[in-house]
Symmetry: C2
Subunit: 156 residues, 2 copies
DNA sequence: CCTAAATAGGACAATTTTAGTCCAATATGC
DNA sequence: GCATATTGGACTAAAATTGTCCTATTTAGG
């Protein structure tokens, strides 16, 4: 189904919340939980991952909490994906270390990698700020240039 | 990790093999297994899915086998993905029927859907014929037009 | 007919992944 | 000291995936 894990889904909501509370103040996990209606333990887990991934910074102790490490406009969807579920790799063969035993006979591995890169490129251009905006008119157009040189435009 | 299932990976190899043997002749599962070095039971499973999905047609009995239902140029990666792992839906909320309880408070659901569509559009323009070609120079360029109208081009 | 070659359909257990919660340790402010 | 918070990891239950196998059905050919 080519789906993302719930952790990533939650993570996005959490990041959006932090972007909202973003007057530079620290926001404790309990706040995030209340604001997103996600159970506190889950929020804590997500925030830990985001902190380790370097997307948010934390302060411990009383008065502590979390805060975006950068402006929402400078956090890409690709980074979020990478942090929350590791680098995009559609097939196992795409991994540099994992060696598929079919590789000698395989003709498609390279193509999947290209598709991965296309997806990655798509997410590179979408920032947390884009996600934060109300999802009404979200201008997104997609173009692939074929070898022939003619471009097909898809939008819907 | 945003990965596809192994079934889909196998399915692609199987389709490529069928595209190779494509002199219109029927190709039994045992042949596909030998050609792809994938275990026979797995190949059988994959071919059953592809047949039900309408990507290949089958003939039973002695002399039977499988055959692409269309030319490789007219089978898109999106179709393959849809058939083998169901429609692309990054988040559960993207599903029309599944109703996320966070929906009233959620600000990002729409954006994920847009990203899904971008991915879908990417795979719409890639055909089985593209996958079949040796993965050397696979011309793919990706462009998103922002609201501002300026286009960023990504290629690597 | 009879047999061998094939697909159709689904059941099945084993493995792996995911989800969500909880606990003990540590750090901070008052 | 004490309440507030993060840190790190352990842990279990549930869900998804994987790969194989079994039985029924269909077809070609002698
Ligand atoms: S290299 Fe593993 S399937 Fe192609
Ligand atoms: S609608 Fe479910 S998380 Fe947005």
């Amino acid at each position: 189904m080519l789906r993302i894990s719930k952790i990533t889904d939650y993570g996005t909501l959490v990041l959006v919340h932090l972007a909202r509370c973003d007057d530079g103040r620290l926001c404790p996990a309990s706040d995030v939980s209340a604001g997103t209606h996600i159970a506190l333990p889950t929020v804590q887990k997500v925030l830990k991952i985001l902190t380790r991934g370097g997307l948010v910074e934390s302060a411990r102790g009383a008065g502590g909490g979390y805060r975006l490490v950068r402006a929402p406009e400078q956090i890409s969807a690709a980074e979020i994906l990478d942090t929350l579920e590791g680098p995009v790799a559609l097939t196992e063969c795409s991994h540099t270390d994992s060696h598929c035993k079919l590789e000698p006979n395989c003709q498609v591995g390279g193509a999947w990698q290209k598709i991965s890169q296309a997806i990655r490129a798509a997410m590179n251009d979408i920032t947390l700020a884009d996600l934060r905006t109300p999802p009404n008119e979200f201008p997104l157009r997609y173009t692939i240039l074929h070898a022939s040189g003619h471009a097909t435009r898809q939008s819907k």
